[in-house]
């Protein structure tokens, strides 16, 4: 009989107000994670104080980064640490994600039974992500496969997906061994899409409908290019560069052009100022030249 070592990885940056609850929810799982790895992305608020309170907990391991490496860099680092510490599964989430008490157990069970039903290894399992009012969280909807209902008709409570966001996703160790880590160079946005799509080379992912978490976002709204403004421009710049890079280098140039068309329509629909549109166009072009390669974790234990 083999036992499964699960490492939860939480990446945080200046979320001292929510982080404590996120960690408590992970520690209170009815199937506890064997390790809880928290990556502090060089926060400048009271995060250090929050983490100090958890430092003595038996399963908690804190990684303090010297510079902010973005969500992508934080997840890549945390997953590499989990891998080096011998994790068989890595369960990752943001610092504003509250996991329901059975979220991890349901993910593990749902993933195992989906694999048994499909007769193959599946590279990840994600939870259903709710907003604070209990509705579906628009930003974290996975993209289903064409045969998404295959497991449903077999009585499984899971659907097959092509991609998902990094809000409660479980990766088996072999997926990291074979496909490496998320692209730290993306810094933020589309790192989750690129990574989960990369992994689907081995088979579809699965969304386990009985595993649920709450994403405590300010507003429940997905990514929409019509929302670009001076305040959020920096994030959209990363998003456009990263998606253009992904479409061009990992799909085909026509996919990148279709993305450009979608970008143009979204910006025009939101009447985004031309100076911002021009900056995003430059980012799209930058994406064509931008093609980072994945790093692979090192086997230690």
């Amino acid at each position: 009989m083999t036992t499964t070592n699960v490492a939860a990885v939480i990446v945080t940056y200046n979320r001292a107000d929510k982080l404590g609850k996120v960690i408590e929810q992970v520690l209170a799982q009815d199937r506890p994670a064997d390790q809880v790895i928290i990556v502090d992305n060089a926060s400048t608020d009271g995060t250090a104080d929050v983490l100090t309170a958890f430092e003595g907990r038996a399963t908690v391991h804190i990684e303090r980064l010297a510079t902010n490496s973005g969500g992508a860099g934080g997840f890549a680092h945390g997953m590499a640490v989990a891998y080096e510490r011998g994790a068989d599964h890595v369960w990752i989430m943001d610092d504003d994600c509250y996991a329901d008490p059975d979220a991890l157990r349901e993910l593990l069970d749902g993933h195992a039974s989906a694999e048994a039903s499909m007769g193959m290894r599946l590279p990840y399992a994600c939870s259903v992500v709710r907003w604070t009012d209990g509705e579906i969280c628009e930003m974290n909807n996975p993209e289903p496969t064409w045969d998404w209902g295959k497991l449903l008709v077999r009585g499984e409570h899971s659907v097959l997906v092509n991609s998902c966001s990094f809000v409660s996703v479980l990766f088996p160790r072999w997926a990291l061994t074979q496909f490496g880590l998320p692209l730290a160079e993306y810094f933020i946005w589309f790192d989750d899409q690129e990574y989960t799509r990369r992994l689907t080379a081995a088979g579809p992912g699965v969304q386990v409908l009985r595993s649920t978490v709450t994403h405590d976002l300010g507003v429940n709204r997905g990514v929409n290019f019509g929302d670009v403004n001076d305040g959020n421009m920096w994030k959209f710049e990363y998003g456009v560069r990263n998606e253009a890079s992904y479409r061009w280098h990992h799909e085909d140039p026509f996919a990148a052009l279709r993305f450009a068309q979608r970008l143009h329509r979204g910006l025009a629909g939101g009447r985004v100022p031309w100076r911002l549109r021009r900056r995003l166009a430059r980012k799209w072009l930058e994406g064509i030249r931008f093609d980072p390669k994945p790093a692979f974790p090192r086997t230690v234990l």
Partner: protein, 540 residues
Amino acid sequence: MTDPHDQTGARRVFEILQEPDWFSGLSPREARLLDGGLAFHCLARPGERIRATVLRTDGPHLPSLTDHRTQRIEWADDRRVVGTIEAHATGTPVPTTGVVDVVLDLGGPPGSLMRLELPPGRVHAVRSVVRGRAPVVFDVLRQLRTDRLENRRLSRPIPRVGRADVTSAGSSRGSTKAVLFGLHWLELGGAEKWAAETIGMARAAGLFPIVVSDRPSGHPDIARPVFDDALVIPLTHPVPAEHESRVLSQLFERFDIRGVHVHHCTWLYQRLPWIRAQYPGTELVDSLHVLEWRTGGFVDIALRMSNVMDQHHVISPQLRDYLVDQQGLPREKVSLATLADLTVDPSGQRAEPVSTRKAGDPMTVAFVGRFTQQKRPYLFLRLAARLRARLGDRVRFIVHGDGELASEVRADHARLGLAGSVQLRGTDQPVAQTLDEADVLVISSDNEGVTLTSFEADAHGVLVVSSDVGSQASVVLPELLLPRAPLPFLRAAEDVLVSLCEDAERAAHLLVEQRGKVDAFADLPRARDWTRYLYERWAS
């Protein structure tokens, strides 16, 4: 003098009708090689009398005990006849007529075989000259080729033998419970050290050890006490095809072989599908040590045979990840159990992780290992030359070992002007003494599993600096891991060692961290426990 025959298990398969006078003149090694050869021929021809002409030589020639040459009654001019001997298989009627003649060549003394150089041929000669004269350039090219072969190998699926669906009881069995072991050779090496350990454990569990080896060698370790009372058959190839199945089936008919444990033995691996088909009740397991990126080595042979095998024991997390994650073997079929306690008892007495180097003392940097291409002693010597130029008398070196590159190491030592600063030590001196004197151990290998010397070094309070190969990352600190490619290795090693020499406080801190890392590795399941449990089950 005790008859060497009395100490082996060979008497279980043959009898010597009349022991000749010359027999006591054989060394224990030669006597056991002869036993192995006779055992093979008696098993291959049950019921027949085997008349052996026994040869030896002073030259660098390997034994010939089971191959087709044993059936020819002519031999090379430099062989001397030691004598003749007649044996017959036990438990079978001895015919009054009919004698099968074989010629058993015990080969040259082990000392001459150690220097056995590359195979003949112009290409090998050129290769040898280039390697001797420009070892670093040779190594740069070699590593580039390794990278290319590694990428190519990983991009292709490894073929697998078909599953065996045979569930019948199989052929008849003997009564003495036994384990059939497959070894590479009976020479020094990490895998062989572990194999010898398991042979002792089988005996302790009440299982009779039968050992076949398949690699040409003088088998210097065959006379070790661990092989006492074992039936050892050192195969020499090519074994005549008709004898292969006969020898194996005779072994299964005379003994109740509960399990086959393969330790790096290609010949036995390749016969596992047949064994599974003929003797399906026998459990088939192996122990795997190192992934060879150029060819896949034994790990890929094990993968090919995995469908007919029950368990793979791996000694490093890297191998587990390769077999389970990369190659998709079921996790429960791969058992990680380490050799952390094979040469060092982690619960026993170990030096405190405290540097004994006082301020102003020179830092002692050691190389411990066989002088082979894999261990790259020439890189260590070049590193010593660089450090000597940079740090002068603040650093001294010990190179401890022997092996096929010994003459090149000595030539390099002289050529690089290292006589005053690099002390060469042979294998006649204890490794413990070198580690007691050393502050840092450098492992410059281009491939490893997990080096046992890393554990020994840590137990002596010595920091380990190593190339980042195999599972070395499991026991060596990340800041002390170096690139595999030779030039980056030399640059990085130079920087690391200079920093350790100049910052004793950092070195002391790293030593404490290293102990923590070694202890975390030692907490993984142990190979001894895994094997003991397995053999007790086989013996029950």
